[in-house]
């Protein structure tokens, strides 16, 4: 022990050391010199996250989001609102018409990013979002949310590269399947039935995509569906069984090359095409077994929102291992209704 007040002097020495130390510490930042914020921004680590944004490849039209609504359901504070885009006939377009994120509610937890199977939603790192207004300024709409893949690569290089590689591999796999399919010798799953009758002709106004067009297989599939939907003008909104009966036989479907069938039997599942309407899909499975009919009622996005892909969910329902018929999020009420109808028809409900 020393004299009274020794502790005080020791403390003052520490303070003085820190006071002088910071002056000589500009280089190493050991003592964390103040960031002159607006002029000098602290470097953000790559993982840093602020609010979600949507990624698109190339043009904003080619967004990765397919409006499967997984993030909407999983978001803990429920700050995402999605409406799927539909054409004038009510056919789902596999992209959001409305995608709003209320950043005044968002808790920046990143769960939407983790659950997205399409790598469509990612975390931004822009934190300067102070606004005067509450309702107009703090709700981000689709135009605000869409940002290019290049931007994503810029803010999170490592992560984005891994994502790009993954998507490329998937697309290549798909493209391979697509080209080798006509020659494949039916290595089908045992449960898979014989393919439904193929349409005799392509529609008159059919626009085919040139082989050398700069599209990935995924975009190609989407475009094919989109274009065929645009070229077809036969059936109505397509939920009514009467309408289905009327259009039987004439309903054109896109060329089989365009259908993104993952592990389909030879010839594929022609109804496994998100571009088709419900009635068109149901037409294709008129003579097929129950599992195929159920599958045709799904939204065909393979988004895994139900916990399966479209095939798996249909098989599970048909086998009785899944009793919940409302799990198809992108299909919305239409699918749930159809599934119930089909199960009732089959006498299983």
């Amino acid at each position: 022990m020393g004299f009274l007040g020794k502790g005080l002097f020791q403390g003052m020495a520490v303070t003085a050391r820190n006071f002088v130390g910071t002056y000589f510490d500009r280089g190493t930042r050991e003592k964390l010199v103040t960031y002159q914020y607006p002029e000098e921004k602290p470097p953000l680590p790559e993982n840093s996250r602020s609010f979600p944004f949507l990624v698109y490849d190339g043009t904003p039209d080619a967004m990765r989001c397919v409006a499967c609504k997984i993030c909407e359901t999983e978001c803990p504070p429920q700050c995402i609102y999605i409406v799927m885009d539909r054409d004038e006939k009510g056919k789902p377009q596999q992209r959001p018409k409305v995608f709003d994120i209320d950043i005044s509610v968002c808790m920046q937890c990143q769960i939407c990013v983790e659950v997205c199977p399409f790598e469509a939603i990612k975390m931004d790192n822009d934190y300067e979002k102070s606004q005067y207004g509450r309702f107009d300024d703090l709700i981000e709409h689709l135009p605000d949310l869409l940002k290019s893949n290049e931007y994503y690569n810029e803010i999170k290089p490592t992560e984005a590269k891994a994502v790009d590689a993954k998507l490329k591999a998937e697309a290549e796999k798909k493209a391979k399947k697509g080209t080798s399919k006509p020659a494949a010798a039916a290595p089908a799953k045992p449960a898979a039935p014989a393919p439904a009758p193929k349409p005799a002709t392509a529609p008159a106004g059919k626009i085919t995509i040139p082989e050398d067009a700069p599209f990935t297989a995924e975009q190609r599939a989407w475009l094919a569906g989109f274009l065929s939907a645009g070229g077809v003008a036969t059936s109505g909104t397509g939920v009514s069984p009467v309408a289905v009966a009327e259009t039987t036989g004439e309903t054109p479907v896109p060329l089989p090359e365009a259908t993104p069938a993952a592990e389909a039997p030879a010839g594929g599942w022609p109804w496994h095409d998100p571009g088709l309407g419900m009635s068109q899909r149901m037409d294709l499975v008129k003579a097929a077994p129950l599992a195929d009919k159920l599958m045709a009622a799904m939204a065909q996005t393979d988004c895994h929102a139900c916990g399966y892909d479209c095939r798996g969910y249909a098989d599970a329902i048909a086998a009785g291992s899944e009793t919940d018929l409302s799990l198809c999020l992108p299909g919305e009420a239409e699918t749930a209704k159809k599934l119930e109808e089909l199960m009732k028809e089959a006498g299983k409900l």
Partner: protein
């Protein structure tokens, strides 16, 4: 707010007690906490804590959402220590669902939790001294060290405070070599800061005069009131869940549990300093032994995660004490049927009156500071 004013005494000189409401808006209540103190002169003769100003319905909300969605909410319980909060919930769920956590994930969890502990303890000392009148200096030093740890947390998990880092069966992001190096750097430099901090404070005569023999919590009372954490250990209760349960991989590390003798505010301050030194020991061992391998159990699904019916209680040694989650899963298994959180600072706060009685009103704030409460956890 003075509710009663003593009337002019007649006959013998006597004083009447007055009631003072301290809080909920008060610089020293660490948030929105209120104490209704009954004073005789300046001496506290009664004190009633009033809580609920930050009741955010954590448990009720958690019963309405999936298991996964509850993890970011636990960040906001004790907002200094999001990592240990995550761990407590994940531990309970893993117990309930029977998930085995990979080795590397266990080590990463230990590393981030111990970093959280030194972050919390240095900040709480800063806040306590802020209440004591040491305006600024210790708090600023503590926040400077906090920033260094937060930098690591941000590069690891993406957020400074609300890390949302752990997942059932592991952690969300792997710790890269650069981050391990960063952690090693922090750990290597921290003892120097701690020495400096102690030099600044531990022998300071003002601190000794204000803290010693103030707010004594007897050992028996600490046990009876189920006090946990540094507060119990300052009263001499040898109880540390890291030693008792040996959850995670804590059984493999060599560390001691510091114990106090008197149980006053100074002991509670000094226990925290010693615990930081022990945490550094654990961190050194964990960073040295960090194994390679998976950082999350591959069989755990992120979505549609279901737990078979049953109930379970998992607890960890959070920096403030025993943090536990009691979870009940029912038929659906998608979300908890009952979700109960045992917050350490709420239970530690129950003895506040016993500690404050007989002391001056100025001591109340440092006794409260030494309890180390965070209102997000007290009110939930």
């Amino acid at each position: 707010m003075i509710q009663q004013i003593s009337p002019i005494p007649t006959g013998m000189i006597e004083t009447q007690t007055i009631e003072v409401s301290i809080g909920p808006q008060h610089p020293s209540t660490h948030g929105v906490f209120r104490m209704d103190a009954v004073l005789d002169g300046e001496t506290v003769v009664g004190l009633k804590p009033v809580m609920g100003y930050l009741h955010r319905n954590h448990e009720q909300l958690a019963e309405r959402m999936t298991w996964l969605a509850s993890i970011p909410y636990t960040d906001r319980l004790d907002y200094f220590n999001s990592m240990t909060n995550n761990w407590a919930l994940c531990l309970s769920v893993e117990k309930l669902a029977g998930i085995k956590v990979p080795e590397r994930a266990e080590y990463i969890r230990v590393i981030v939790s111990e970093l959280t502990r030194i972050l919390n303890h240095s900040c709480v000392i800063g806040f306590m001294l802020q209440d004591l009148g040491a305006w600024g200096t210790p708090l600023l030093y503590a926040f400077r060290e906090r920033e260094k740890i937060l930098d690591l947390f941000e590069s690891l998990s993406g957020a400074r405070m609300m890390c949302n880092y752990m997942r059932f069966g592991g952690v969300r992001v792997d710790m890269t070599d650069a981050m391990v190096a960063q952690a090693k750097d922090i750990v290597a430099k921290f003892p120097r800061f701690l020495d400096e901090f102690e030099q600044l404070l531990s022998n300071n005569e003002v601190l000794l005069a204000r803290c010693q023999k103030v707010g004594i919590l007897p050992k028996e009372l600490a046990i009876n009131a189920s006090i946990s954490g540094p507060m119990a250990r300052a009263s001499g209760v040898d109880y540390d869940i890291r030693k008792v349960d040996k959850y995670g991989v804590y059984g493999r590390f060599d560390f001691r549990v510091p114990l106090g003798e008197v149980g006053d505010v100074y002991d509670r301050y000094y226990i925290r300093v010693l615990e930081m030194r022990e945490s550094i020991k654990i961190l050194n061992q964990a960073l040295r032994d960090l194994p390679a391998g998976a950082f999350v159990a591959p069989e755990v699904k992120l979505r549609n995660f279901k737990i078979p019916p049953g109930d379970g209680y998992g607890r960890v040694e959070a920096p403030k004490g025993e943090l536990g989650f009691y979870l009940v899963s029912d038929e659906g298994g998608k979300m908890p049927y009952r979700y109960h959180c045992r917050p350490p600072s709420f239970i530690n706060l129950t003895t506040l009156e016993d500690m404050c009685l007989g002391h001056k009103v100025a001591d109340v704030v440092i006794i409260l500071g030494s309890v180390d409460i965070v209102l997000g956890e007290v009110d939930r």
